[in-house]
Symmetry: C2
Subunit: 570 residues, 2 copies
């Protein structure tokens, strides 16, 4: 086969496809070049003067290497990998580095394998990282536990590309033995290790990155990005749905440090992908914020290929993978054609591929394990006195506040009527432990009902919020019935939308899922939930015991600032 490629490269035979009369971004020289681009099979054979069996006149357009999203949790789209690919491939993305952290916390390694297998069903190339923090903390009950020995074993699986974002910063710098095992396994196997280290600097940062943790997507200022880059860390400029750092952090990029930046979306939900786009959106933001368009393209292609050692990707050159996006311009980044591995897979925003029968293994279905029905009494909250530690929401933020409130009680249960307080519970759903963590939340605004969800970072138990025990129980029961998803209950009447894949993602077509989830969202707001919060998604972060100050797990109220459980009695 090499012979045929060489024949095409030297022009001895026609190429399969030639893009003619356009320009292209040469990420090696930082220039916009002219010339035919010739494709044979799945490879670019060269640029210059070529003839092809099929020729595309792309006059006025500009070709770039297919975008590489350098860090994403596909689960956050709430779509199957197949439907995710249909949304983003037409936008020019051909490769993503995916950390299946969420589904692995629910389903274990089978979850990661599912993401890899389902992706193969699409033209999107998904490099799957092995999640490093399953569970994220020992203070919650996750579906699976991957320890150091598991990590060493799984990192040798060919379908896994490296070790996913290492969120356990304290575990690294305080030398937790199991953390050491995970890191040493990755080192020994020569695998890349992604980082996640918000607000770290100085010697602490040195200790954290020493083991080879070489990326970070959590910078919130150019200064933080600059220090990390100076220490050899590749810094992801992130433009997610909730966390949008590109406009600020791209101020850190200059001609001298350019090669150490990446672009990523981290978490983007389906509606955002549909409405605003994927990396194309991040690129628009970057260029609007003043980043040189060619630099932006380089960051979104070659840099990611170099960082993640995707040799033969991220550039337009002989022998490189024929992963290309043909754009209208370098301002709006509208994609006219996407080629993946030499095949035209999208045109004018429309996917040209059909995913075969969706892959949906048993391991990711029916992941709500509640043998014993949860009843209204399970949500009775008996205080010793009148003062309670309460979680208070902060607008536009996943960080919460710990406040003390005076609470009335009656018949061994708190009285919420007449307050801005709601009951917040996390019901364990993986192992039938019967665990229910129960507490109080302020600032959500729900009246006369309950709302429940199986996306509850990072262990993804059932999180339920309500102002009465009966509706909370009905909402949980509805979740159980649909096998995971989102539900609301008002006076015993429930409405829901299944997330049939691990309780995290829907196997519905993207557009149908977006429509139905928006419909349910509106019904939630109709129950009085404040428009200051994103009704379901704000809830999903209230179980994440690594973000300050006060959170809820299935094991109880947790004070993140003290890294210890917290008595609700203040």
């Amino acid at each position: 086969m090499l012979e045929t490629f060489i024949d095409a490269a030297v022009g001895r035979i026609k190429a399969d496809i030639v893009l003619k009369n356009g320009k292209f971004v040469n990420v090696f020289t930082g220039e916009i070049c002219e010339g035919d681009i010739a494709i044979k099979g799945d490879k670019i054979v060269g640029f210059g003067k070529y003839e092809g069996e099929k020729e595309y006149d792309i006059a006025g357009k500009i070709v770039v290497p297919g975008w590489i999203d350098a860090h994403v949790h596909i689960e956050s789209s709430q779509l199957s990998p197949e439907e995710y690919a249909k949304l983003i491939v037409p936008l020019g993305t051909t490769t993503v580095i995916a950390d299946p952290h969420e589904i692995t916390n629910v389903c274990g390694i089978a979850g990661a394998k599912y993401i890899a297998d389902a992706s193969k069903n699409t033209p999107l190339e998904v490099k799957v990282m092995l999640p490093s923090c399953v569970p994220a903390t020992p203070f919650e009950t996750s579906g699976a536990v991957l320890n150091g020995a598991d990590t060493e074993k799984y990192l040798q699986e060919p379908f896994l590309h490296g070790l996913g974002e290492f969120m356990n910063y304290p575990g690294v710098i305080h030398k937790d033995p199991d953390v050491m095992k995970k890191l040493e396994a990755a080192q020994k196997l020569g695998k890349i290790i992604d980082g996640h280290a918000p607000d770290t600097s100085g010697l602490g940062l040195n200790g954290y990155i020493f083991p080879g943790i070489c990326t970070d997507h959590e910078c919130v200022s150019p200064e933080e990005a600059e220090e990390k880059v100076s220490k050899g860390v590749y810094v992801h400029l992130r433009e997610g749905s909730a966390t949008r750092n590109v406009a600020v952090n791209c101020k850190a990029v200059n001609a001298k440090n350019l090669r150490r930046f990446l672009l990523c979306t981290d978490d983007r939900h389906a509606a955002d992908l549909k409405a605003n786009g994927h990396l194309d959106n991040a690129l628009r933001v970057a260029v609007k914020a003043g980043l040189d368009p060619i630099w932006a393209v380089t960051i979104a292609t070659l840099n990611a290929a170099e960082c993640y050692r995707l040799h033969g990707k991220g550039a337009i050159a002989p022998g490189y993978d024929a992963d290309l996006a043909v754009l209208e311009d370098l301002k709006d980044f509208r994609c006219a054609y996407t080629f993946k591995a030499g095949k035209l897979v999208a045109q004018n925003g429309k996917a040209l591929f059909e995913t075969k029968e969706k892959i949906l293994p048993d391991a990711v279905k029916n992941t709500v394990h509640l043998n014993k029905k949860v009843g209204a009494d399970d949500f009775k909250l008996t205080l010793r006195g009148k003062r309670a530690n309460v979680i208070r929401l902060i607008k536009d933020n996943v960080v919460t506040e710990k406040v003390v409130r005076e609470v009335e009680s009656k018949d061994g249960d708190v009285v919420l009527n007449g307050t801005d307080l709601l009951k917040l519970a996390v019901v364990e759903r993986h192992h039938n432990t019967g665990n229910i963590g129960l507490g109080l939340l302020e600032g959500y605004g729900l009246k006369g009902g309950a709302i429940a969800l199986t996306i509850a970072h990072d262990s993804h138990n059932i999180i339920v919020l309500g102002d009465n025990n009966a509706d909370m129980a009905s909402a949980v029961e509805e979740i159980r019935k649909i096998g995971g998803g989102m539900a609301i209950s008002k006076g015993g009447k429930t409405e829901s939308l299944a997330l049939d894949i691990a309780g995290l993602m829907s196997s519905l077509p993207a557009e149908e899922y977006i429509a139905r989830s928006e419909e349910l969202l509106e019904k939630a707001y109709a129950m009085g939930i404040s428009r200051d919060v994103e009704a379901f998604m704000s809830l999903s972060f209230l179980a994440l015991p690594v973000i300050p100050a006060l959170k809820m797990t299935d094991q109880g109220l947790f004070d993140v600032t003290k890294f210890a459980f917290c008595d609700i009695n203040a």
Copy 2:
């Protein structure tokens, strides 16, 4: 062990070594930074504020990552790897990418293994490439042959880092089956492939680099370098003993394409290393030619590490190998200290390491295999007429000219007396074939004797030059006696210097070897050899049948322009 590193990185315990009060080049940001550099064991644990068990005050000095010579044939130093390391480590070089092309052509894979093993005897880190062209052409008799199957087998050896410079450009673009096998083996095994493609461009270049050949050190103009870089090739700026391209080619480097350049010496002999230096010399030349000093440092460190996938090398950052050079400045690049893997290995130009007993396996010794003594009559040259095709030397060039000369004959042998012609012979020395290629050379200026040498690129047979048959025979006999090396013979009186390692390198200490080879060189010039040629080394290229126009192999006179043997009768 990771725990101790982390303790040192976060400043919980003292580092082993701290470099204080100096500055350093940060190749990630392109800046000169301040801060202590802390080393623990073989690693840099960080920069910032540190205390160390041992502290060096390096006020006024500047630290850089240890130089990485991105392409070198150690054999060209004519020294053992141990002696080579003693010369270059004190100049700041800590890693080289070595292609043992010469010794492998003599000794086969055992030659490459010897280079790897002997290097382990030193602090110099030598990444050994598997030579791709053994022999360089089918028109000569080499000591060993490595075909496609051998290549696939050996590339899996852990001591080999990749596939060495692929000199057979025609073999690639014309799809020679064995060439295809070699390239496919490297592709399959994910190994880097070095290139060697002088004066190639356009679609031919596309075809050549398609298989993943991703470096080139043969550019002779900035334009050539620019095209190669634009196609994804890493371009080595080369400053060898004979081929000095840095000053010219560094004009191709700019802020946008900087990351795709490397620095190398390719071929540098011992005397040149001693007198002028190694990469430090190349850096002086580059900076003098106008290259930004920080760019130059980046090219000589991080870029090489990235190209050759030496993860954790080429920069000063937490977790990186503690391979450092402490320089006086970025103009003269004088090296005050060299640290390798955290150990001080050289100071003020002096190596602080002793190589253990030199490694010298039988496989690289006694490589002259001539069972039958070569006699004077073996050099009789009988022409059919008076006109002969003659090799004519071109000053300062390894390219030769093919000229036709009128030659007298007597008693069945040419008469050289009264002409500027000499007899040039290549005597096969590997397999006792008895092959002797014989012809005429013009422009060397030797009178009344002969000169012989076992460095004869690339098959390294015995090349002998003389104006009389008896001295030619004595010189060859002397070579046989000393087991390879360089010899002169004048009126039957011989003088010589052994190259006891494969007939290519001496196991003598560097200084002794330099002194003795210069002594012999002067004796050669005393025989009338023109000072326009380098008496021995110019000879060594006359057997290389890949450089135009007319060359000599053990199989006869070879016309490189026609890629065919050539009758001496014109």
